[in-house]
Symmetry: C2
Subunit: 304 residues, 2 copies
Amino acid sequence: MPGMSEALKAALTDKSAGVAEMLQHLLPEVAETESRLFDAMRYSTMNGGKRLRPFLVLTTAEMFHVAPSSALRAAAAVEMIHCYSLVHDDLPAMDNDDLRRGKPTCHKQFDEATAILAGDGLLTRAFEVLAHPATHSDPAVRSQLVLDLAQAAGPHGMVGGQMVDMLAERDEAVRAGLDVAAITRMHQMKTGRMIAFSCMAGATLGKAPAQLRQALQAYAHDLGLCFQIVDDLLDVEGSADEMGKTIGKDQAAGKITFVSLLGLERARDQARLLADQAVQHLKPFDAEADLLRDVAAYVLDRRS
Amino acid sequence: MPGMSEALKAALTDKSAGVAEMLQHLLPEVAETESRLFDAMRYSTMNGGKRLRPFLVLTTAEMFHVAPSSALRAAAAVEMIHCYSLVHDDLPAMDNDDLRRGKPTCHKQFDEATAILAGDGLLTRAFEVLAHPATHSDPAVRSQLVLDLAQAAGPHGMVGGQMVDMLAERDEAVRAGLDVAAITRMHQMKTGRMIAFSCMAGATLGKAPAQLRQALQAYAHDLGLCFQIVDDLLDVEGSADEMGKTIGKDQAAGKITFVSLLGLERARDQARLLADQAVQHLKPFDAEADLLRDVAAYVLDRRS
């Protein structure tokens, strides 16, 4: 894949396999009547995504010498939250998408009611996984992870960001008010906070000192924003083939994006600046943060 | 209200007011664009329900001398989970209800997308509230509460029960397989586990000894089942006026209930037996459990 170092490619493949295995373990098939629910939860998490968030959890956890089983549970919890948000986002009342990564969305493969319940089930299960003693022997670490994840995913985080995004799509007055500050805030809520949680979970599990936590927080902030700007750029510049989805969709829908607000060139400059800044924040770390540096380069240069 | 002692009536009114105040505090109005989400969350929790679950949390918490602020936070978290499940249950793809307690359901008052997000927001916020240090100074207690609530509300609990219930409604083969054991299991998952959590949360907050925990668990089990059988009886015997909803709805829909399986008389006997048993389980407690005894009598004798 363009923009991806060999080391990053190998690490992504390796870690993604580990996360898939942990998800299989945490979301088993069941024989009872409610098997349809579990099937839908499994279907929605085994979707061939890049698994960027779990990758960030696992990579930072390694930097703080966290036990792999702990890190994998936290990574799986993050992925469950990410996948639940996609399942609910795809529903007819929300984005009404029939396909995700070329496969039928959950409500198309099953039905709407099952998709609603599968999303609810994944969201709830994520907290169960984090709070379980198998995730960490120290209950203070477990309850911190639950608190942080709930804040990142809840009404002041991801769900709040989705609300703003939806209103911007449907309400002319809200759309008119979306300037660079407002759209930055929206993306910070909608995707930034979950990316930040993913970068911080390993530090929490490894009881990292405050200075290193702050460095990772700053890295995550810039990485998340860079990720979003590049998303907007790819919608204009990417080829449909590489993206695996219709491009120019945002523009056609009159959507406010970083590109519509800043123009192509300034958006590109801004993305580059953020990727550079993200890497700068990693100065307190030696080679152990090289994968995070590669991630920043990849997020900037990716073609899909 | 019929079946309700004066002491219970006063305690329900008092505790319900405390829970409403805590919910107001935990779900504030916000000024930002996402205010619509918070409005929908507030609307869905301030619905004039009986608040039976929070009442059980607060009453058992008092038995173990838990600080009121701790108990109220746990009670509010339980109510958020209960209300989120109603919001999602009422959606067109699920039960498609326009009214709840005589008021428009969340998706009618707002819109479907907002209702989906409000449910997600309440579910997530409940875990945030429990994991927050303000709920208890001991993180082991907080993470135990999160774990227990997630198990009660998740795919092996409430969400799993909702899946079975939905399948029983839509799938002839599933309906045909619903005998007394299967319907008991379904209700145990769908409502029983949350009632059990509500009875146990106070004991967890108060670090109650195992023997008393077991007594409460047994009480909660019988209370929850009694509650459901009486629900089924009221659908047949209740007056529409007292119930505030259409009665005979289950029968008309060909729904499998305890009444359709056992007949009126045996269902009534079974409910009485369970209420008696529930009270028996409270033997280890003196007068401090009197409100729980009154609850059992009320659940059996209520007319709505």
